[in-house]
Symmetry: C2
Subunit: 587 residues, 2 copies
């Protein structure tokens, strides 16, 4: 037997027991004829003691142990004279009588400590060593615990977890598919699912009533911090429900997770905000409402006073940063630089400080009277000490997005975005369509199966852009953690949707024929939601990137640098698949 | 709100309540001015009543309902005069006051009943309708329940579920990989995992200590009843363990599943059988021990008596079927036909009946004296009324396999293989290697990371074929439901294994380099096991094919006939992936 206890288990009540432990050497130190070794496993660290005077040979062996050696020891539990309150095992130590080296270890390329000295690249290459660090492993423990709680919550409510296939058909609509050549069907390909959307709707047609799945999904898109080629969704669907039923079920799940994972009891309902208001007040469909700083539109106040930049703008709006009037010229220049970055794209920023005496001092004082500036102050309800920041532009939506970035940056600078504070909301009433300039047609904002609000159906013919969808997103701290919709279950309405989206009947049949056929045999009203598991875990763990809650993530080129995948196939594999590689241009 | 109750919920205690139900029309019938409709959902069936005399219009609408229409009704719960004890809701009915047709339904291509009139092909094409049948849906409910119990058992023991990647590197060793072209890495491919083997071993190197995952696995192999291109494993790995630890942990899981899923309490330990004995007594490494009928070797008894077929054979062996002496000539001819089938391949079969008076009458009486036949009887301990069946052949192992098929067939014919009786065992002490005639070298019987038994290590140099592995399979009713091994954690031993398997150092490095590198940094002793979830569910559900416990399975050509996948890509997709299709030969 390799161990009687783990390295996190022994307590003062175990003193005098003879135990066997196994684990990794975290560190060792010599002190006055004694050698102390910290032995580590997943469960904790236990101090081992070797006494040169008692057993010189054994102590000598202990002195030869290197970092990360795997050892087994036998010994007696002893009360420590020098207790360590930071360790759960800090009251005891093991007086070692036997030592076995189970495996030696080369010197790790970075230190296996909570704060490692390794850079990102080296830690990804040696991910199996990075995963030894508590900081990384604890994210995966949290992930495990979350999935246990998710399943427990849904199982109690009668949801059935059903595995849908990974090898499915390719649908050119949506993001780019990963594809898999079929050897048995020469020239044909499977695709990996971007989501189980069609299958979960089929399960509703099958009368499964309540379905869920913690499902791997795949998108061959360019990557960034919160995107991986494969990611995991908590995917759910329910029958005989309206929007309110889905929202209440999954708000319940969110509260269950907050309580069981983070120990936070939320009793009130999550606030709800229409998409329209979210865009107007925060310039985003996923507003971070941990702090206020809502947008105020200033066209009425600031246009027509001779400042041509504002006069010619389609949108003038600003935010008020409480207590930030003390910002220095350098800090303000920094903010101007920030909004002028290419990825944000504002042309400039105007600011106005509310001074101690109530007067307002702005960067465009020469165009505005103090009276107008007082109107500005009133528009925000600003107080002495506050700082007003204003952007303008030709395109209201673009300017709102720029102002959104500025608002989030101010939130960061003023410490208003604490990772341990959580602000949840539902964004509802999304538009059903968005106009695509490029193709000159309406596109489905969510997907073509999202149902319009009943009262907006008449607008489908007259004013499709104004039709609101039965669609909803859950947003926490500015992150869209999930979203869904009530689906269309009526085939006539579905047909109309495809028409409005510019699908020919033939194309709709080709791509979604099996779903449309299925709907002919008695489809129930249904709807659902999918949560992004990686994002949820990141949020609860306070991570900046979803990579840190994925055991073996890919880098921005889609490579696993640890195993060096993807790689080249052998010619025989290509032949069997009837494939020839023809690289036309170097990337 | 679409419903206040489900169709399986209402009881006599609900009488007089006004309720709303939604569901599918299972069937309807008119009887003396009344119309009765059975309303179905996942939870059950509730009888609806429409009275022509009370509301002719409503009753008329009810008469127009077709099978599988989706409806919503409001009405009062009434005690039935004519109770139905077969239905959980059979004490009540609903006197309907409002009826809404939520969706009409075309006539299904087969009846949605427990015993459907639809053939396999049509049911697969309309799988979403097949899934409406209780018989199919209940398999998936069982599957859901099993995964809940698996996770509950493992979570309690401190196992962490970790998702390993689906997009990994291809390893030409083993079965054929499904591959995925990488757009971002032109000319390179990912592979889909055949199992998470390498990643779970890396997690042990990472100190995760106890890992599991209910993991999708993929093999591009020819398909049959118990094989699908994608299948699901309960994949587990533990550190600081010996074979006994793994076996006891996963025997515990099996007992937990028997108890919670099938209500069967197993108190004794599962029997264990060496691979050698399993082959000798049952001709199989996955013996069905629901019944005895062990093989008896008969070379000593039956050779050298002038029957040239036996005299020239390398192996002569038989089974004794209790009470089957009454088999007619026709039945015996049928058995001979059975063993002569090409897929079994025996040349013939000899039988011997033990008659009421104890005399033995055989099909080769002219070659054997009654004295020899009495020895034969004694070899089996056969009694009057028993039937002895004997096969012989040039290749002992091949003949044993034929005898194995005959034994299973006799088990079927004599009703000894009841689906509700379960016989579990561990097959242990597998050979580490098997000799591959074709390539003239040893192959790993499990995989190259399986450790040899410590006491057999010296044989590695002298007699590799005799080395036993620390490998074990769990077998239930002749089905291998799982298997695993203790892994090699010593890099010198691993290197020797690769040498014995004929890997050059370069090739080993190329294919498994990252694992061998990882092992340099302190690998703990570890081992594990993987259960086939699909097989477990099939076994518990009494299914003949794993297809029936998979929501959306593929057919034998790897096609999903419902969605018609795989399919052809658009040229632009191929171009982006730098691929040209070149079909050299029609298949």
């Amino acid at each position: 037997m390799y161990r009687t206890h783990t390295c996190g288990e022994l307590r003062i009540s175990d003193v005098n027991k003879v135990v066997t432990l196994s684990g990794w050497v975290q560190r060792s130190r010599k002190m006055g004829g004694m050698t102390f070794v910290d032995l580590r496993d997943r469960y904790g660290i236990t101090q081992l003691v070797f006494n040169d005077a008692v057993n010189a040979e054994l102590c000598d062996a202990a002195n030869k142990l290197g970092r990360e050696f795997v050892i087994q020891v036998k010994g007696e539990v002893n009360e420590r004279s020098n207790k360590n309150a930071n360790l759960s095992t800090g009251d005891i130590e093991i007086i070692v009588s036997e030592l076995d080296v189970l495996n030696t270890a080369a010197t790790p390329p970075f230190t296996i400590e909570d704060n490692s000295d390794g850079g990102d690249d080296i830690r990804m290459k040696y991910r199996y060593l990075d995963l030894r660090r508590n900081a990384v492993r604890s994210n995966l423990e949290l992930r495990h615990k979350m999935t246990i709680e998710v399943r427990s919550y849904l199982d109690k409510l009668g949801f059935l977890e059903v595995e849908t296939p990974i090898l499915i058909g390719s649908t050119p609509e949506g993001a780019r598919d990963f594809v898999v050549p079929s050897r048995m069907n020469p020239g044909q390909f499977y695709a990996l699912p971007q989501s189980p959307q069609l299958f979960k709707q089929l399960l509703m047609v099958s009368g499964f009533d309540r379905y869920f799945q913690i499902a791997k999904c795949f998108r061959d898109e360019d990557l960034r911090a919160d995107r991986q080629p494969e990611f995991t969704q908590i995917d759910c669907e329910m029958s005989f429900v309206e929007q309110e039923d889905v929202i209440s079920t999954f708000e319940g799940m969110a509260k269950h997770l907050f309580k069981t994972i983070r120990g936070i009891e939320i009793t009130e309902s999550f606030p709800r905000m229409t998409w329209h208001n979210a865009m107007k007040l925060y310039g985003s469909d996923k507003p971070d409402i941990r702090f206020g700083m809502e947008f105020v539109e200033l066209m009425d106040v600031l246009q027509g006073k001779g400042f041509s930049v504002f006069d010619s703008a389609a949108y003038v709006g600003g935010i008020c940063a409480e207590g930030a009037a003390s910002y220095t010229r350098k800090q303000l220049d920094g903010l101007t630089e920030f909004v002028k970055r290419p990825q944000i794209g504002a042309k400039g920023m105007v600011y106005a400080r509310v001074e101690a005496d109530g007067n307002v001092k702005s960067s465009v004082d020469k165009f505005y009277t103090q009276e107008t500036l007082q109107e500005l102050k009133a528009a925000f309800g600003a107080k002495p000490g506050d700082l007003i920041l204003i952007l303008s532009g030709d395109d209201a939506n673009k300017t709102r997005k720029q102002l959104c970035e500025l608002r989030l940056e101010m939130g960061n600078q003023l410490g208003l975005r604490d990772k341990d504070t959580f602000a949840c909301l539902w964004v509802i009433d999304f538009p059903l369509f968005e106009w695509d300039e490029e193709s000159g047609r309406y596109m489905a904002m969510h997907h073509p199966f999202t149902s319009p609000k009943l009262e907006d159906v008449p607008l489908l013919d007259t004013n499709p852009g104004d039709v609101r969808a039965n669609a909803y997103d859950m947003v926490i701290n500015g992150v869209e953690v999930g979203g869904g919709s009530i689906r269309i279950h009526d085939s006539a309405l579905q047909k109309k949707m495809f028409e409005l989206l510019g699908f020919t009947e033939e194309r709709a049949q080709e791509q979604f024929g099996f779903l449309m056929n299925a709907f002919k045999f008695g489809a129930p009203p249904h709807g659902g939601l999918a949560y992004g598991l990686d994002r949820w875990v990141s949020l609860f763990a306070g991570l900046d990137s979803i990579r840190d809650c994925i055991a073996f993530p890919k880098n921005n080129s889609g490579r696993d640098v640890m195993t060096d995948a993807p790689g080249y196939l052998e010619q025989s594999q290509l032949d069997e698949l009837n494939l020839v590689i023809d690289i036309k241009e170097e990337k």
